[in-house]
């Protein structure tokens, strides 16, 4: 996992320059954090045009709030927190997510057994599974997950963030994050097998 306190000196230098009136330096901050912000926006928001607007809104908010940044986390983590909150507000505004309900995953406990009865062993199954096919199926299945679950999977697996950083970004307790990640992976595994079997039959 990446160091949570790293880059603070660089962060301070960049923030001080922007606050001193050098708005050009803000482009460096955008370049440094664009990947992380983009991952959050793409996982939280489905509409392509809205994604563009929200991403710009995130950085405009960041610029306006930069004087409030206390260097208690990495600048990228702080901007990711703004990203998550902005996307979350968007989802609530569009009524795509309800307050207190982050989108439930229904895990079918018996699906695994059903599949298991049809397949002798997964080792044999693996021999048939084309990796490209798996990747495509998985990509679709990830997109079907609720926004918060998709985002957590991306932050953990793609961005390699620590639980501590994910807590800072989402404001969710560490236990909840671990539970959501577990449920998301289980759901993906079950759906991957179900989809594969459907295609096989």
């Amino acid at each position: 996992m990446k160091n949570i306190t790293g880059n603070n000196l660089d962060d301070k230098y960049l923030v001080d320059k922007v606050l001193a009136g050098n708005t050009g330096t803000f482009a460096v901050i955008i370049k440094n954090t664009e990947r992380l912000v983009t991952q959050i926006v793409f996982k939280m928001i489905n509409h392509p045009e809205d994604r563009k607007d929200v991403a710009q809104d995130i950085y405009l908010k960041t610029f306006n709030k930069l004087g409030n940044f206390k260097f208690q986390s990495k600048l990228s983590t702080w901007i990711a927190q703004i990203s998550y909150n902005t996307c979350f507000d968007y989802l609530q505004k569009k009524k795509l997510i309800l307050p207190g309900n982050l989108g439930e995953i229904t895990t079918e406990e018996d699906s695994y057994d059903t599949i298991n009865n049809r397949v002798t062993t997964y080792t044999e199954t693996n021999e048939f599974i084309n990796r490209k096919e798996v990747s495509a199926i998985l990509g679709n299945e990830i997109e079907k997950l609720p926004p918060v679950f998709k985002t957590l999977i991306t932050l953990y697996h793609h961005e390699e963030l620590s639980y501590e950083e994910m807590v800072q970004i989402t404001g969710l307790p560490a236990g909840t994050i671990k539970s959501y990640l577990f449920r998301a992976r289980k759901k993906l595994k079950d759906n991957l097998l179900l989809t594969y079997k459907k295609e096989e039959l």
Binding site: A20, G21, N22, T23, G24, F26, A27, I30, K31, E34, R35, T38, Q39, F42, K43, R51, K52, A55, Q56, Y59, L60, F63, Y112, N116, T121, Y122, T123, T125, N126, I129, R131, V134, S135, L138, G139, I142, I153, H157, H158, F182, R185, K186, L188, K189, L192, L193
Partner: protein
Amino acid sequence: MITNHLTEDELQQYALDKSIVAPDLQGHLQHCEECTAKLAVYQLLITEINQQPVATFDFDLSAAVIAQLPAPVTKASTNKYPVAIFSLVAILLAGSLIYLYRDDLLALFTNTNMAEYLGIVIITSIAIIQGIDTYRNYQKKIKALDFS
């Protein structure tokens, strides 16, 4: 070695990092085909999740944001220390001259008529106005040279 099958949670943990799973569970995996098979699916899943393509925007986000930011705040890049030192030297010099020529200056104001008074006031006013104008021009040029 344990005989119970690994839970889904244990399987996920093993697939993510086998070093954090208890040795008993690892022992079970060596002999249990069912758990090994389930583990293989999780390992495949995690590998594939890690290799999913990274999303990118099809426009220049940085340029779009920078275009919407307010114009840079220009700060007069004056170094205040030389200005202060120069002012202090000028005041001391002026004070010394007044002190040295105090008798002549006093005579100037005691033995002069109205016309001479008027001349002194006009010349002093022009000098002050010129000084203010020069300072304003200096500030404008410094702002124009702002490199930030």
